[in-house]
Point group: C2
Chain length 330, copies 2
């Protein structure tokens, strides 16, 4: 929620001459996007105002991977998904440099992200996720999931080794070790792609990354965790992100709406249904681990908001109990 890098006026003017998008009309920092600096950029061309988002890529995004992300967004946007379309400069390249950072201009999307998720959001969200998965099947380049199951043990080890983890969260790393073991033993084998369909997943489709307008999804943003992985794992991440109410209770009406919306476009296979409890627990563990790692590795005085890992530990407990009670179907 910040602008990390400022862009000089002459720099900006000079940067825009590389594009055929008209002349600059307005430029305002956007308080969204956790990792990058984003600006609303308005231009005018032939008397018509046009809006874009200018993104400067900060730490955490590997510049070498930006062509994959921008390529995916372009592919999805041109295959019916309401996501930002990267705008190419006059030389055909969308990925450029500004203020010493990799930078790109993408189209501005209408809508409002839901500050309070309702069951009514979950059906359209599930449907939009399925359309994203379908559109992604024809994007051939792949990107490994850097925060997938193989990353969890090292993340947990690092968090456990950090000073203060045990004092701040007594017993937590031991609990997470047991959970990790259970989840990995139930995880669908990646060696047999026929079992669970794989493809391009968003992997971070939280409410602040989905804009709604008139009850429909009008935009999906922030593809910088996207990767090639189990499609049903993306569904599981959304069940984590969208289906717990504000008291931490798992809302089965939201889950049912999300799955029904998804399956109205792409029915889950029975193997995917069977795997969902483990995938949901895995999704909860993934966010619990990255939040725990960030929590114990962020200096108390840093200018970033630390997110409490316990929110996801509680979700993890719900899904682990679901794995026990109902090991076959969610």
């Amino acid at each position: 929620m910040a602008v990390y890098t400022e862009v000089g006026d002459e720099e900006l003017s000079s940067f825009l001459t590389d594009y055929d998008i008209g002349h600059l009309v307005a430029f305002r920092g956007i308080a969204e996007g956790v990792e990058n600096s984003n600006f609303l950029l308005r231009t005018e061309k032939d008397g018509v105002a046009r809006d874009f988002i200018l993104t400067l890529y900060e730490r955490r995004v590997n510049p070498a991977e930006l062509p994959w992300f921008l390529g995916l967004m372009e592919h999805l946007a041109t295959h019916g998904v309401s996501c930002p379309l990267p705008v190419a400069g006059r030389d055909g390249n969308a990925l450029r440099e500004l203020a010493g950072r990799p930078a790109a201009i993408t189209t501005f999307l209408p809508g409002v992200w839901p500050r309070h998720v309702q069951v009514e959001h979950c059906g359209p969200l599930g449907e939009a996720l399925a359309r994203l998965h379908e559109a992604g099947t024809t994007y051939a380049p792949t990107r490994a999931n850097g925060l997938g199951p193989t990353a969890w043990q090292p993340l947990l080890d690092k968090a456990a080794a950090s000073q203060g983890t045990e004092e701040t969260f007594p017993g937590l790393t031991a609990e997470l070790r047991l959970a990790l073991k259970r989840i990995l033993s139930a995880w669908p084998p990646s060696s047999d792609p026929a079992v669970l369909p794989r493809g391009q997943i968003h992997a971070d489709l939280f409410p602040d990354n989905a804009f709604f307008l008139d009850g429909r999804v009008s935009g999906i943003i922030d593809f910088y965790f996207a990767c090639t992985d189990l499609l049903a794992y993306d569904v599981a991440i959304c069940l984590n992100a969208w289906c717990f109410d504000e008291t931490g209770h798992f809302d089965t009406a939201r889950r049912d709406a999300l799955l029904a919306g998804y399956e109205s476009v792409r029915p889950l296979t029975s193997a995917e249904h069977d795997a969902l409890p483990a995938l949901c627990a895995g999704g909860a563990l993934r966010f619990a681990l990255t939040r725990l790692y960030d929590w114990v590795n962020t200096p108390a005085g840093a200018l970033v908001t630390r997110k409490d890992p316990m929110d996801y530990v509680k979700k993890l407990r719900v899904f682990l109990s679901d794995m026990s009670v109902n090991p076959v179907h969610v």
Copy 2:
């Protein structure tokens, strides 16, 4: 640079029914405005997109003073100043409540604030400031300057009494005491309004509060320090905010351009010219004092950016030396 308060979707929809500005199309947090939460709000009415800024007023702004600020902005906007125009709801009131905060919708202004001030900005800025002063003469309500000369001694006393001030800034409060004494003895008497013209001043017209487009000032924002005070003191604040280069050197070419731009609309009286060195030193002292106070009273871990008071102490030294060398004219 943040959004402090989030607005629920239903809350926002319900809030907008109080206005006749069309239906909601987009809503994004803006990373600008130091003290308040600001959002870009786009609506559509009769097929035409319209942009606004929604502001939620946070701490530091006294709700009782909001009618004065909004009244001033409306007056200025309808008297030729490019500033945000408050939008009234169907009941005629611009000041409303949203998410438990006082809230107002104002028009969106085009332009870009200059990240790197050039001499070319200073003429148009001076001219825009003079037009603001002229337009303000017909706005009758007054507001005392809460951060004017009478506030400086108590601010300095509080900063001096804070733990750590002397260790962090050795000798600084003693230096500021001497400066304050000199400045107050040279300050124009407020008892004789004929000496220096008084009126509505912005009092915080820093580069990030002035948008430019095609070499002209396209917007002046953030009126929440505005008050009724010496017009030339507003000029002095701008000389502080716009005329030092990035190495801390006072750029007389910028000063000359700013004053020439101002005087092309409203010539300063000779008494105002004579007073400028003391007013400039007072402006530097005012920002040095509030920054020092904030610095020593902001916990190291707080989620706000502390501004170094020494930047303004250095400016203060420049203006104090100017008071000695050239006591009559800047």
